[in-house]
């Protein structure tokens, strides 16, 4: 991958130029879908964009010292990491990539969550500290399943290249991996039933409570970009290998859209679980998934 294509991927497609409007669109789809399922009207199409612009225009009371600096830094870092993760998705056929880019993608996907935890503790509010502690516990639990899923798919392909993963033929292991990723997505995106870190009826909005104005706008944007990155990762794994680039793009958008609808339905149909139930759920999942992945890997080895 040369510098030009890398820049084009990061800035144009699937990077910032595509990802930012897509982030607002997915945020709108989620809010609108949940509203329609609940018998409400829901926000107008441009609402996430309006929210962003409105928040950008607010002035916030200045925070001095290293705490204030860090509080401005965390959302910036989260947005850059999420945007970078979207830029790395192997959407286009023959998009290049390098050996080990999967590991970089996983790291970038994880950074926003780490930033949220750090931001909660930096703001020193009791509610955001509880929210951050919950986010940390949640992240430790679902990430095992998430990483197991990705690593087992990668191990079956004998590579840590994203492109090889995207072109992998359908196999039981791939479907198992996708199922495991889907189980993790609600927790990663703070959706019901795993919306614990930002449970407003319990701890207001958790780690975000001290944020306002442009910094909050950046958090919202990073949340939207996380939607694009997380659904996009599953969409690239789901999509069959297509050589026509515009077909690949359309299929990617359609699959991501369907995933957003699926996640919104789950969020609308469930109540929020408590932290211990959630952690237990994910550890049981990782146990189940580990057994299934090993047995299916053994079966594949025996068959070949």
């Amino acid at each position: 991958m040369n510098l030009l294509t890398a820049l084009a991927r990061l800035l144009l497609f699937p990077g910032l130029l595509f990802a930012v409007p897509a982030a607002w669109f997915f945020l709108w789809v989620e809010r609108k879908a949940v509203a329609l399922m609940q018998g409400r009207i829901g926000p107008p199409f441009m609402q996430p964009f309006y929210d962003f612009v409105k928040l950008l225009g607010k002035t916030t009371p200045p925070r001095t010292g290293i705490g204030g600096l860090l509080m401005r830094l965390w959302p910036l870092l989260a947005v850059s990491a999420a945007a970078g993760a979207v830029g790395m998705l192997p959407v286009l056929p023959a998009s290049g990539g390098f050996e080990g880019d999967l590991i970089l993608l996983l790291a970038l996907l994880e950074l926003p969550s780490v930033c949220i935890i750090a931001a909660g503790f930096t703001s020193r509010s009791i509610f955001s500290e509880i929210g951050s502690a919950r986010e940390a516990a949640l992240s430790v639990s679902y990430n095992i399943v998430f990483l197991l899923a990705i690593v087992s798919i990668a191990a079956a392909q004998h590579t840590f290249r994203l492109e090889a993963l995207a072109t992998m033929p359908a196999s039981p292991l791939l479907w198992l991996g996708i199922a495991a990723l889907l189980v993790c997505l609600p927790a990663r995106l703070h959706l019901n039933p795993f919306s614990l870190p930002n449970a407003e009826q319990e701890i207001y909005s958790g780690p975000m409570i001290e944020y306002a104005g442009p910094e909050l706008a950046l958090w919202e944007l990073s949340h939207g970009l996380e939607w694009v990155a997380a659904t996009g990762l599953v969409a690239t794994l789901l999509a069959p290998h297509i050589t026509l680039w515009w077909m690949a793009v359309l299929l990617f958008i359609a699959l991501s859209f369907l995933l957003v609808l699926l996640l919104s339905t789950l969020a609308a149909a469930t109540a929020r679980l408590a932290i211990d139930t959630t952690v237990r759920f994910y550890w049981q999942c990782s146990l189940l998934f580990a057994v299934l992945a090993i047995s299916s890997a053994l079966l594949m080895r025996l068959r070949s």
Binding site: Q38, G39, N192, A199, T270
Partner: protein, 360 residues
């Protein structure tokens, strides 16, 4: 290391200003303190400056949810002092209104409980159904919140078309049995948030002297509609649901079953609605000197009014109210001890607190 976490006086989980200060270790609550009095309006004192017409309108505004129950209890005690007996039709209309109010209060509570579990879809469903109950209340009284139905010696408005009301009640009953009750009893996530949470044992319920659904969910079989019947309740057939478990789920179940019993009472009352006058003839009232006490089973439990009148006075000399939340709220401390922090909003809401009544 333990830390203090304040819930309120302004908090998304609370409808009204009060404060639950919790001492936590990690996510576990070790102890809690409840502070009330943020909404004191001096209504009991104001009542001493109002005559017997005005005091009804004033006491109706003690609570926005059980406004009918408050005027019913007040009018019953004033009728004792005035020596009046309302005509049978008025008693039936009072029963119908009281049960409709219980329905809308219980459905509202179910909605709030769903919201506190993070189950907003259920919240919207509950509030849609509550709107239908409010429509019936509006069809009868012309008002949605403060119904202005009660007067000393009867009610202000007649039910002119009982058949139409009966049809609305039947439609409501089918919808409740189809949506709210199955979701709360079968949804796995909802059950995981309720079962075994915020337990109030039978012994503790007796020692705290809790009332209403909170008591019935801890296995205390008390209900004034059956134990000390008023209005037309002596002629109604209904069961008093009692659950022994004492957790949030039991409180949810008791209220769900009460919704069905309320529909049953409503059907009977509308079918048997006797003909005749709906209030005693108009005229100047005179009150005997003394104190009268009346008790009524409100949606949240027992409401007690004690009203004192002096010889030849125009205004009451003392109106005292005891609301069910006043009896129920000390139990919250025992319910939240050892609970998870995430469950405390739901636990404190499970007594269906109404601090605007309590603060007055």
């Amino acid at each position: 290391m333990s830390y203090r976490i304040p819930m309120g006086p302004y908090h998304p989980a609370l409808e009204e200003p009060y404060k639950l200060e919790m001492i936590c270790e990690g996510e576990t609550v070790r102890d809690a303190r409840l502070h009330i009095g943020f909404n004191f309006r001096g209504i009991e004192h104001l009542a001493e400056t109002r005559n017997y017409y005005q005091v009804i309108a004033l006491m109706e505004r003690v609570c926005g949810i059980c406004s009918f129950i408050h005027t019913l209890t007040l009018c019953q005690s004033m009728e004792q002092l005035a020596g009046l007996t309302p005509p049978p039709r008025a008693l039936y209309i009072r029963t119908i209104m009281a049960e409709l109010e219980r329905l809308h209060s219980h459905v509202l509570w179910a909605g709030i409980a769903a919201k506190l579990m993070g189950f907003k879809t259920m919240f919207m469903t509950c509030f849609e159904i509550r709107e239908k109950v409010m429509d019936i209340l509006q069809a009868i009284s012309g008002n949605r919140v403060n119904y202005s139905m009660n007067r000393v010696g009867g009610v202000n408005r007649d039910i002119e078309d009982p058949h139409a009301i009966l049809l609305m009640v039947q439609a409501l009953e089918t919808e409740m049995a189809r949506t709210i009750i199955p979701i709360f009893t079968t949804s796995a996530t909802a059950r995981s948030r309720c079962a075994g949470i915020g337990v109030l044992t039978h012994a503790r319920a007796l020692s705290c002297a809790v009332v209403g659904p909170t008591a019935r969910a801890s296995g205390v079989p008390q209900d004034l509609r059956r134990d000390a019947p008023y209005a037309a309740y002596p002629e109604m057939e209904f069961d008093v649901p009692v659950e022994p478990a004492g957790d949030v789920r039991a409180r949810l179940l008791v209220r769900a079953l009460e919704i069905m019993e309320s529909c049953r009472i409503l059907r009977q009352a509308i079918a048997k609605l006797p003909p005749g006058e709906f209030h005693v003839p108009e005229g100047k009232l005179s009150f005997a000197a003394g104190t009268a006490v009346s008790r009524v089973e409100a949606p949240r439990g027992e409401v007690m009014y004690s009203i004192t009148w002096k010889e030849n006075a125009r205004n009451p000399s003392r109106v005292h109210v005891r609301t069910p939340t006043y009896a129920n709220m000390p139990a919250v401390r025992w319910m939240v001890q050892g609970a998870r922090l995430a469950d405390t909003p739901l636990i404190q809401a499970s007594i269906d607190p109404c601090y605007s009544c309590t603060d007055r």
